[in-house]
């Protein structure tokens, strides 16, 4: 019987055996049952069409690895939303004219933020100064007290990170 859909079958067993546990684990970390339930679903959704599950030795370790990644994404997005609202509150002139526009700006911010994820703070700063403030590499070097070649190295690393993770 289980030869019919070995992957789905394993996934079904995995879900049955570990879903309540994973949800409790996430709820413990997040302090919120609804979000824990959503992220639990997302974790199992990730497994659909994923790699062969029958060779997973430590299912709970595997599930928590995925869940941690989703949780990190979620936290990154939350902190961005918060920073966005704070910035708007502090500088209302930056508010886009319409709701649609704001939605586009926020979407772009989330995408760029995801692309820059994992980048060292210095490289991130160089990238932002160059791309958004329009500073030249030499100007950035002077501003941050770095050598020109270091600025370019940071910049290249940031650009490569963006291209690697572009949507």
């Amino acid at each position: 019987m289980h030869l019919m859909h070995p992957h789905r079958d394993t996934l079904g067993t995995l879900y049955h055996d570990h879903q309540p546990w994973l949800q409790r684990w996430l709820a413990g970390r997040l302090g919120c049952r609804e979000i824990a339930a959503d992220l639990t679903q997302d974790t199992f959704a990730r497994l659909l069409g994923g790699r062969d599950l029958s060779c997973v030795q430590e299912p709970r370790a595997y599930l928590t690895t995925i869940a941690k990644g989703l949780m990190a994404n979620w936290c990154r997005r939350q902190s961005l939303e918060r920073a966005y609202l704070q910035t708007l509150a502090a500088a209302p002139e930056a508010v886009a004219a319409s709701a649609e526009q704001q939605a586009l700006v926020r979407e772009a911010l989330h995408l760029i933020d995801a692309m820059l994820d994992g980048l060292p703070a210095q490289a991130r700063r160089v990238f932002l100064l160059a791309q958004f403030d329009g500073l030249g590499y030499a100007e950035i070097a002077a501003l941050l007290g770095l050598s020109l070649s270091t600025v370019k190295r940071h910049m290249k690393r940031a650009l490569l990170g963006c291209l690697l993770h572009a949507p």
Partner: protein, 335 residues
């Protein structure tokens, strides 16, 4: 861990992406010259993967152009991880603050590649959406369907779409919007054609009206009525003009030209065929008229050669086609 959009194209060689990053770096220098830009274009033309890598670079530039500088650095340079961990502990409060943000995130995650209509070069397709609206997707186009409880949103990533909206079955009715990289169109009526290009988006309103909002902060919106056409980029709306005749005949596989410069007609035909279709600059401005079949661009070219003083030169098994001035027989009789 980043979400990988399902159905993504084959992964690009990191080495190619590294080269693309080097080009971006070079072109970002203060002393970047036209020669550098030309060299970059040559690199893009060298290999389809180079072009794909460069498309990512262009996408990055577009995203950056959308975000006002005043917002970018405070938001993207917010305090990092330690603070984010603390944020988890304050979740209760955050949820009160930003339920919409949570919803928005989930919709984006879900919508990623979930429902994208794509057409191949030379293909056209009509589809019905969940709300009974219909979309005609033109050749070589990509349209993302991102309906949610608040709005019926389509993202035209590439190409052209003719939208015929239906009344929303949900109460209260949701707004119907089409977004492109240049801005957002809100349907106030029922039928309109949207075409996204590299530099601008064009909307032709056939019935009702559409409100166009360029993406840049502070840009003024513009209302386009039936029978009107508007071009806009991310910064501003152009002037509203009368819609050309036959603007939607492409859905029937015909392109109608009314004293259109030859080069523009050829650009239109080129979208439906593989290979390169070029126009001799000497005759680029030649005004041409007629109804040209899009699905049989060879026939369209033959029609041109029969009607106008032009000849068709083919090289590399038709992959490289150039329309040139006809020299041997003098001008052919006009229709």
């Amino acid at each position: 861990m980043r979400p990988e959009p399902p159905g993504a194209e084959a992964a690009l060689d990191p080495h190619v992406l590294k080269q693309a990053a080097e080009w971006l770096l070079r072109l970002g220098e203060r002393d970047a010259s036209d020669a550098d830009r030309a060299a970059c274009r040559r690199w893009c033309d060298q290999h389809p993967d180079h072009a794909r890598a460069w498309a990512r670079a262009e996408r990055l530039r577009e995203l950056i152009a959308v975000v006002p500088a005043a917002l970018a650095r405070p938001v993207l340079e917010r305090p990092a991880r330690a603070d984010r961990r603390a944020a988890v502990k304050r979740l209760g409060g955050l949820l009160v603050l930003a339920p919409g943000a949570w919803l928005g995130w989930r919709l984006w995650e879900r919508s990623h590649g979930e429902a994208i209509l794509r057409t191949a070069v030379g293909e056209r397709r009509r589809s019905s959406l969940a709300d009974a609206s219909t979309v005609d997707l033109d050749t070589d186009s990509a349209l993302e369907i991102a309906f949610d409880p608040r709005q019926r949103l389509l993202r035209l990533q590439r190409g052209q779409v003719l939208v015929a909206t239906a009344a929303d079955p949900q109460r209260p009715p949701r707004a119907f919007r089409v977004a492109t990289r240049h801005g957002c169109l809100q349907a106030l009526g029922t039928r309109f054609n949207v075409r996204v290009g590299a530099d601008a988006t064009r909307v032709d309103v056939l019935d009702g009206a559409v409100r166009a909002q360029p993406a840049a902060a502070g840009a003024l919106a513009c209302r386009v009525e039936a029978g009107q056409t508007l071009r806009f980029d991310a910064r501003r709306c152009g002037a509203v003009a009368a819609t050309g005749s036959g603007v939607a005949t492409w859905t029937q596989g015909m392109f109608s030209a009314d004293a259109l410069p030859l080069s523009e007609l050829l650009d239109e035909l080129a979208r439906y065929r593989r290979g390169v279709l070029r126009c001799d600059p000497a005759i680029a401005a030649l005004p041409v008229s007629g109804a040209f079949p899009l699905d049989d661009s060879e026939r369209s070219l033959a029609m041109l050669a029969a009607t106008y003083p032009v000849a068709i030169e083919r090289r590399a098994d038709g992959w490289w086609t150039t329309v040139v001035a006809r020299r041997d027989h003098g001008p052919a009789p006009r229709r």
